[in-house]
């Protein structure tokens, strides 16, 4: 296997594996937010704000993997 092929594989694996965890996390956050909304429909706006913030934190982990992938790809 050449070094270039190795690099492409590493890029794909970095973002592919790195997206698994945040994907599960965002799913759980969204599901729980809908559950909370079902219990208490009046609290929609604080739930939405908290949910978006929590999703942004979960997404940041995927972004770390993406940064690694981009560094591998473009340097």
């Amino acid at each position: 296997m050449t070094a270039d092929a190795m690099k492409l594989l590493a890029t794909a694996l970095a973002i592919g594996l790195g997206a698994i965890g945040p994907g599960i996390g965002i799913g759980i956050i969204g599901g729980k937010a809908v559950e909370a909304l079902g219990r208490n429909p009046d609290a929609e706006s604080p739930i939405r704000t908290t949910m978006i913030l929590a999703i942004a934190f979960a997404e940041a982990i995927a972004i770390y993997a993406l940064v690694i992938a981009l560094i591998l790809k473009f340097t």
Binding site: T49, I63, L66, V67, L70
Partner: protein
């Protein structure tokens, strides 16, 4: 000249020219422009607050400031008035940086510079938060502020006790973990902002090369949203960390 006709993507900012050996990169040029815009907006808003007849800009900004104020007050409580100026400055500056990077012409106006012996084309402007140096600078400011307020509110003794605690072995190892968590705050602040904005730029560039017409439109809307959310997350995280740092531990 580069022979490949693919999209121009560079992970670091490119040097445009030098002033007395100080390299001026394309992201620095954008940064200076955005800083001037921020100052002008702030001064204009300040002027409007005392004017007898206020215009629409004043009420738009007031709505913005009010909603952010309410959101941060739910975290900081009655100490909000002390911290709000710096927190809102973080929010507003990062927001303007993110949105300025989406304007047409940023990244698409190319100029020719000489590097070594060959001439290359580099973009004149670059979204400033797509440069790791900028976000690292913002992160360092934010984390230094957290340490400063922690010392100010808990005293130097209380501050050091958080990191060096010899009362029992568990507290000693928790202190080491605290030191690591302070350092990792810098990295996580810097990479979160840089990653989101840079990934957005790469996404827009790739989409524009795949489908030249109209396909980038929903993605630009997405990037406007992401820019707002990331600015909010940066300011909100600083708020939460400050409120943790100034709280008395028992």
């Amino acid at each position: 000249m580069s022979e490949d006709i693919g999209p121009h993507i560079s992970i670091k900012a490119e040097k445009i020219f030098e002033i007395f050996g100080f390299p001026v990169t394309n992201s620095l040029i954008t940064s200076i422009i955005v800083t001037i815009i921020t100052i002008i907006l702030a001064v204009y808003y300040k002027k409007q607050t005392t004017a007898s007849k206020k215009n629409g800009f004043y009420y738009l900004m007031k709505f913005f400031v009010n909603s952010i104020y309410e959101m941060f007050r739910s975290v900081l409580g009655d100490k909000i008035d002390k911290f709000f100026p710096i927190l809102f400055s973080f929010f507003f500056y990062i927001l303007l940086q993110n949105w300025f990077g989406l304007l047409p012409g940023i990244g698409s106006i190319l100029i020719r510079i000489t590097e070594g012996h060959e001439q290359i084309l580099v973009p004149l402007f670059r979204g400033n938060n797509a440069d790791l140096n900028t976000t690292l600078g913002l992160a360092l400011i934010s984390v230094s502020l957290i340490q400063y307020y922690s010392i100010k509110y808990m005293g130097i003794k209380g501050y050091l006790k958080k990191f060096l605690n010899f009362t029992n072995p568990i507290m000693f190892f928790l202190g080491i973990l605290e030191i690591i968590s302070e350092i990792s705050k810098v990295v996580s602040f810097a990479f979160r902002l840089f990653g989101n904005i840079f990934a957005g730029e790469v996404l827009l560039t790739i989409i524009a090369f795949l489908v030249p017409v109209l396909a980038s439109f929903p993605f630009i809307l997405l990037e406007i949203f992401v820019g707002l959310i990331q600015a909010l997350v940066f300011a909100m995280l600083t708020t939460v960390f400050i409120s943790n740092a100034i709280a008395e531990h028992h």
